[in-house]
């Protein structure tokens, strides 16, 4: 079979790329090693920035999600119990909210129902060989089916083996932290306020969810502590949780199950090689401290769709080196600064060193009192660079 683009991995990023490209008359195939449509069983929530929302709007996905999203109007940043806080208000930049919180199940259902049947999906299949030649590349699937395409986009997530196979240099290390993700119900309305509170073990984020009386919690802790916390019973866990959560929303109780995800950093030093392009978490898996992983991936998607459509409409080979170079020039700086910023934030906030404490409190103070800095941070978090 002959396609313009083959996308490996049908995560959110992979599928959104496929949807966007096939909207623009590029023929796309998706290879997924698990069977599709995938069962949605996690209760995670995605924080989608204003910039990503615009991208989803353009692709026609956003209208399916409307009514299921909760806007984030304010963000509060606290450092443990120290009195210095930063408060971001969306009114500083405009009328639009800074971002939206969406349950992953909703976004998945929307995609499964409305788009999956339009895509050429090979699942459950994995590829055996990938061979690049001048002008095209050939992918052999494990049932010996041969797919020919111009470009192979790897959107397989952070555990992808492809960069290794193609010897694309990666920077990789483990944070020795786990993120616990769960939802809580609370007595009082959250007023669309997202809270990020830093503790020596890692950041603790509260994201307002639909309805007003539930919030999604992303609790990052050191490995050993998080394992211990996960083994606690629900009542004991809530007691521990209250110490972090505070009492500003009244009584709280757990909703649904707790899950934990180990955190690691990986960053591809090259985004492309021959006819392979890395996007999303395969290229950059960053710390969830600012909730920017998906948004960064969405900006990749936007760039890929724009460039490939432009090339396709000009009759240019979509896997050609200069096109991939163009995409990676466009993306590399943003990826790098975001990776650096999230890593730096995590490093400076997740410790007990006095020097760092002084420094970060000073930083918070400066940001709180500087309109310019605040605005530029909000803009960046919203996805407008």
């Amino acid at each position: 079979m002959n396609y313009d683009v083959i996308i490996s991995g049908s995560g959110l990023i992979g599928l959104i790329t496929a949807i966007g490209l096939s909207n623009d008359s590029v023929s796309v195939a998706v290879i997924e090693k698990n069977s599709l449509p995938r069962a949605v069983d996690d209760n995670r929530a995605f924080a989608i920035s204003q910039g990503s929302k615009k991208i989803l709007e353009k692709l026609g996905i956003w209208r399916l999600l409307e009514g299921e999203t909760e806007p984030i109007l304010d963000i509060c940043i606290l450092d443990g119990d120290s009195p210095f806080t930063v408060h971001y208000d969306h009114k500083m930049v405009g009328e639009e909210p800074m971002g939206y919180v969406i349950k992953s199940a909703i976004i998945w259902n929307a995609i499964n129902k409305n788009f999956l049947h339009k895509l050429n999906i090979y699942s459950p299949r994995s590829y055996k060989t990938i061979s690049c030649d001048e002008g095209y590349m050939e992918v052999t699937l494990d049932n010996d089916q041969k797919l020919i395409s111009s470009l192979f986009i790897c959107a397989e997530g952070k555990n992808s083996r492809l960069p290794e196979l193609f010897s694309i240099p990666m920077i990789k290390f483990d944070y020795k932290q786990n993120s616990m993700v769960f939802n809580v119900k609370h007595e009082l309305h959250h007023q669309n306020l997202a809270v990020e509170r830093f503790f020596p073990g890692g950041p603790f984020a509260i994201l307002p969810m639909k309805g007003g009386y539930t919030s999604s919690i992303v609790w990052t802790e050191k490995c050993e502590i998080s394992k211990m916390l996960m083994s606690l019973s629900e009542e004991e866990f809530v007691i521990e949780l209250k110490k972090r959560f505070g009492s500003y929303l009244g009584e709280i109780e757990l909703e649904g199950e707790r899950r934990f995800y180990p955190l690691s950093f990986s960053f591809a030093r090259k985004l492309h090689k021959s006819r392979i392009l890395l996007i999303g978490d395969a290229a950059h898996s960053i710390h969830p401290v600012a909730g920017q992983g998906l948004n960064l991936g969405m900006r990749d998607v936007e760039s890929v769709i724009r460039q490939i459509t432009a090339a396709k409409s000009s009759g240019i080979d979509v896997g050609s080196n200069y096109l991939l170079k163009k995409i990676s020039y466009e993306r590399y700086f943003d990826n790098f600064t975001m990776a650096l910023a999230t890593d730096g934030l995590n490093r400076i906030f997740s410790n007990r060193i006095l020097c760092a404490q002084v420094l970060r409190n000073l930083g918070l103070m400066v940001v709180e009192n500087s309109d310019f800095l605040k605005k530029s941070f909000v803009r960046h978090a919203m996805g407008f660079i």
Partner: protein
């Protein structure tokens, strides 16, 4: 050489044109001298031996021809948009379906493949056999193109004179004095009034007998068909950038590929086209930015220009 020149000037129109336009007369004289010198000093066979080296890099997107690769971003939409109006939602891969396009001086098929990818029926002709072979090979090897391969034709007269006739970089870059006219004239005679569009991209500045060349191009076009020419302008600005900066310093173009004397002014090309009953629709200028390796339309025509003309019915 001089006798040959007069033998080749079949067209009375061309003779008249020569007489009344001192600029082209002057530049053609210079060309004749240049080419004769080049021929007398260099053995074409040797050049041909050295040629594959340069030709091989044609399809290398990082090589010295890299500017031509990204040029498709500009010229393919230009040709596409003036041939058809794209309705939103229409597939790009079939939008030029049914259009017969002749790519004159196709070289290794950079533009031909680009147009073929939009579904057009492309015929590429070139006087250099190596380049035509290369174009055929590249298209044939590429499985993505299999269903709509451009048709490449090597038009030449006979083998004995071939080596004399083809110069350093092949016709794509330097077409020796009167021969391309013969070659292309042949094609235009056999396929008169045949093509919806004729594309002559970065070729005419390598052609010597320009009046005849343009006339042949017009002959091959259907009445009401379109002609597209893109070529550098004869300004000192273009000379400074194309010949001095891009060829010698930045090496974005192969060295020695252009001669200032062979460049044309937009008005000259327009005049030639109008002499052949064509209506010039638009003249646009463009510029090449070497740092980003991209091309953009500009308001002035100091660097290069693109002409779109319609053959009168």
């Amino acid at each position: 050489m001089a006798t040959k020149l007069f033998c080749d000037l079949h067209s009375v129109k061309a003779i008249l044109f020569r007489r009344f336009s001192p600029i082209t007369h002057f530049s053609n004289n210079i060309n004749i001298n240049c080419r004769r010198d080049a021929h007398s000093t260099i053995d074409p066979k040797d050049i041909f031996q050295a040629n594959p080296k340069i030709i091989k890099t044609f399809w290398d997107p990082e090589g010295i021809f890299k500017a031509l690769h990204t040029f498709n971003y500009l010229r393919v939409p230009y040709i596409r948009d003036s041939l058809i109006e794209i309705a939103p939602g229409e597939k790009f891969s079939t939008c030029l379906k049914g259009k017969k396009i002749l790519d004159v001086g196709c070289g290794p098929g950079l533009l031909s493949e680009g147009l073929a990818k939009l579904g057009a029926e492309v015929t590429g002709i070139d006087a250099n056999r190596e380049l035509i072979e290369m174009a055929k090979n590249h298209g044939y090897k590429n499985k993505r193109l299999a269903n709509n391969l451009p048709n490449y034709i090597w038009t030449t007269i006979d083998k004995n004179t071939r080596t004399d006739k083809v110069d350093l970089y092949g016709t794509f870059f330097i077409i020796c004095f009167p021969y391309i006219q013969n070659l292309f004239q042949d094609h235009s005679n056999t396929y008169a009034d045949n093509y919806d569009a004729i594309v002559v991209s970065e070729v005419i500045e390598h052609v010597a007998e320009k009046e005849l060349f343009v006339e042949s191009c017009v002959r091959a076009t259907k009445p009401g068909g379109k002609l597209f020419f893109t070529t550098p302008s004869r300004t000192r600005f273009a000379q400074f950038f194309i010949i001095f900066t891009f060829e010698n310093i930045l090496r974005n173009y192969p060295k020695g590929a252009h001669q200032y004397e062979k460049f044309m002014r937009p008005s000259e090309l327009q005049f030639m086209l109008e002499m052949n009953d064509c209506f010039v629709e638009s003249i646009k200028g463009y510029f090449y930015y070497p740092w980003g390796n991209n091309w953009e339309w500009t308001k002035n025509k100091m660097f290069s220009f693109a002409i779109e003309a319609i053959k009168s019915t």
